[in-house]
Point group: D4
Chain length 77, copies 8
């Protein structure tokens, strides 16, 4: 299962450090700083929805400087 | 009277602990972690609108880790 | 698998007729007119994510008067 | 019971005509063209939540040129 | 000049105390706890736009527990 | 008085034609196609708030292909 | 240059047909139906920002059933 | 390259001080306090997208009292 995760960071947080940490996080396939209503878009892959939710809430949310996230699950890979 | 309450939690907060606390809160009928623009959807029941508002502002908002909520009141049960 | 679906209807559409049609739609467990940023909240159940997406895009979207929807998937039932 | 209703109108609709119609609608206490994320804010009063919902869906939504509305119910008058 | 101000409060803040403080603030005509995407709607009056902005940024924002505000100016009283 | 106006256009509308029309509209100082949650940002100047609202509702909204707008008034030029 | 494009489709539009058309559009690298506040997420690549904007406004917006889009440009590939 | 940046400030932050700091920041062309869904709109110019992102994340985000920002890049100056 695949999902896109929009990540908003705290003002003043080091976006380049956060991108490096995301890219080295198990389950995260890619991560880009973007313009627009969010700061970073990452794509996540796991065996099922619970696996995706765990990557988001336990690994991504553990990164210092992340303010909030929104997960959009791909209906089909 | 019934209402759905969207709950956004702080990054890094323990969503499973918050779900357990919500499910054992008087007035809360169900609570689910969800994907999308919010983190949790709960349904609340009380005798009137003030009762619903009290469950939200005095019981739900008292749970550590909750960042903000949005209440959508059912026009008819 | 369970999901909550927020449904925005077209101005002037008959919300009571739409609620009746939703409640008689296979896969839809409940549907309520609500106040707030959406007009109706429904809960949907299916065997997997594709099943949920099919109920939304093929059955709910087929109901006349529905303007757009947002699906929030429950991470665990 | 009192509620504020945010009203978005269709591009090109005659906002002054809509404001006049709103102000002469039973249940609508005031209506103003505003700047910001909505076009008009009206306040509505009725005996209960169903009464407020009826003013919105049956009277306000019947006015030509209205695109969509969001109702925010006052917890206490 | 008149404006409506949407006020979001911090989770756990005492909404009734905030409403009382708003109602006794010079320039604030009314304030209600509401359901929906915001927590409180207040109406503000001042001689001009700068006056309205001052009531918001210097008086309303000074109230402890207020998280953020959105001002919608009435094009005509 | 000065304001920024966010303009969302209909899918398939000719954005370059709309930009040209905006730039030749009296009261519109500049107009740019942008990325993000809106399609065009224009800046508008008029003697007062009613003048700004008239440029938006009578001139900008009259341009074919414009779906909706949001006006953000500068508190001070 | 790379960008993510969120695509909202009209209620009742055939999402699978739209996904096929997107995947065969020059400049579009991937496209997925997703849950959440949008219906489809696509990634687009072009030589510069104007190239990305042209893929969105001239190719993606030309696909029947697309309601509106939001482009989020990657600051670095 | 040019971009508009929407800036939300923390409740209670001194908006006039922040505007002064923005106007004296290299790369920032103009900055206005505004009404609506954001608090300040600034326009930024740099040689390319990375330059714009650096002005936002390294200079604007370094100003005390700024809560979050949204960057909208002009497709053509």
């Amino acid at each position: 299962m695949k999902a896109f995760v929009e990540i908003k960071i705290e003002a003043g947080a080091n976006i380049e450090r956060i991108i490096q940490l995301l890219r080295s996080t198990e389950g995260v396939k890619e991560a880009f700083a973007v313009t627009g209503h969010t700061d970073i878009i990452a794509s996540v892959e796991a065996s099922d929805l619970k696996g995706i939710a765990d990557v988001v809430t336990q690994k991504i949310h553990a990164i210092k400087g992340i303010d909030n996230t929104e997960t959009m699950v791909c209906v089909e890979d």
